[in-house]
Symmetry: C2
Subunit: 235 residues, 2 copies
């Protein structure tokens, strides 16, 4: 049974890494002592070791140890045997590329489908959708495919941003970008605001956190859904 938390962000404004969601993670990871961390999105180009250390510091507060996937000679085996998995944020193209070149897409899909508790933040959430075509990231590397883990029947847009009505910037708003996605693709997109997350228990998908999410369906006017909304029918 799938047991997944997909968060918009690791860090809310004014907070420290993962602090806003640690009580939830204590419950989510209650049967795990050690969490396998996938550092491949490499935010800001820090080393995998440095990134893993940041994560380990946060999880120490709820008495979990953390090991980086990059330290295992056989990463497929590490994923298959993990008690719990966390994929951190950074650049979605870099992360996706690393998962493909290391042949980790299928092992990761299988582990999560078989019930290994999973946490994603930002890029780590993005890759659980059908494709990475609704990422906000810059395409700094060319992955073999935009197809993602497809653990959810829709796409996610993390760090969802409402239009800034005071802006003089002429680039596209986030809403415009997602509407353009729907000129070429039909799956729904969940715009997750900072501090929101999706909780997946088997086939039940629920919006969590204090904020509404914005839902974009093909050929429909975008709409807001409140916290605790069941999104299981969205596909």
């Amino acid at each position: 049974m799938k047991n997944i938390i997909l968060a918009s962000t690791s860090t809310v404004h004014g907070g420290t890494y993962l602090d806003y969601i640690l009580p939830t993670l204590q419950e989510h990871f209650k049967h795990a002592n050690n969490i396998l961390f996938i550092p491949f999105a490499r935010p800001g180009g820090i080393t995998h070791d440095d990134y893993t250390n940041i994560v380990a510091t946060a999880f120490k507060k709820i008495n979990k140890t953390v090991t980086g996937l990059h330290t295992y000679p056989n990463p497929t085996e590490a994923i298959t045997q993990a008690e719990a998995i966390f994929t951190g944020g950074g650049n979605t193209f870099v992360l996706t590329n690393q998962l493909y070149v290391n042949n980790l897409i299928t092992p990761l899909q299988n582990a999560v489908k078989n019930g290994t508790p999973y946490l994603g933040t930002s890029a780590g959430s993005n890759i659980c959708g059908l494709t990475i075509k609704t990422t906000n990231d810059m395409p700094i590397v060319y992955p073999p495919s935009f197809n993602a883990l497809a653990l959810m029947p829709f796409n996610i847009n993390p760090h969802y941003l409402d239009p800034d009505t005071n802006s003089k910037h002429m680039g596209e708003t986030r809403e415009t970008r997602i509407k353009e996605f729907h000129f070429y693709n039909t799956p729904p997109v969940v715009g997750l605001r900072e501090g929101s997350w999706l909780e997946v228990k088997g086939n039940q998908i629920t919006l969590m956190g204090n904020l509404h999410a914005r839902i974009f369906e093909y050929n429909k006017t975008p709409y807001e859904v409140a916290p605790k909304t069941n999104l299981s029918q969205l596909k």
Copy 2:
């Protein structure tokens, strides 16, 4: 001899389509009566006809006619025979994909290298860099490659945005994104602010407009350059 204008945007805040740059375009296109328009980036999903009509309305003010590349049975021939070429903005992934699937990359490179006056705005400027890896656009389609026309020895980041120090948004700033590009790529990136453009005459590349541009070189601190700066040595 190359004769190119690469603009950050088609429309500055409070203005109409291309109006801020029309006097420059009158000189740039002085030997052309008709401009071949490449509408493939399709902003907002409008039809190629509708997009071409917007462009035709703007160019009528300087007595140019405009024809859309999509109306030609043989687009390669249309590019080769064009008096002048304009590629409009929209989504860079969509544009790049269309150029590849229609086998137009090489014809377009050759036409511009042979001296056909070229104008790009936004996505139409992006594709003149080495790759599209510094686009701001959402990757709504998967192109066969991120390699672009390579008419310039660097990459362009149009609609360059300075960090918003008041923002509570935790997504990456533009500067952070471009720094991440340099963890995986070495070419320089020119951050072109709204209302700025690059003028290319042969091998001479000059920053134009009223604003500074921000230059990102591999392993260097980013720096500002003033209007009229010669960027020919940047590679």
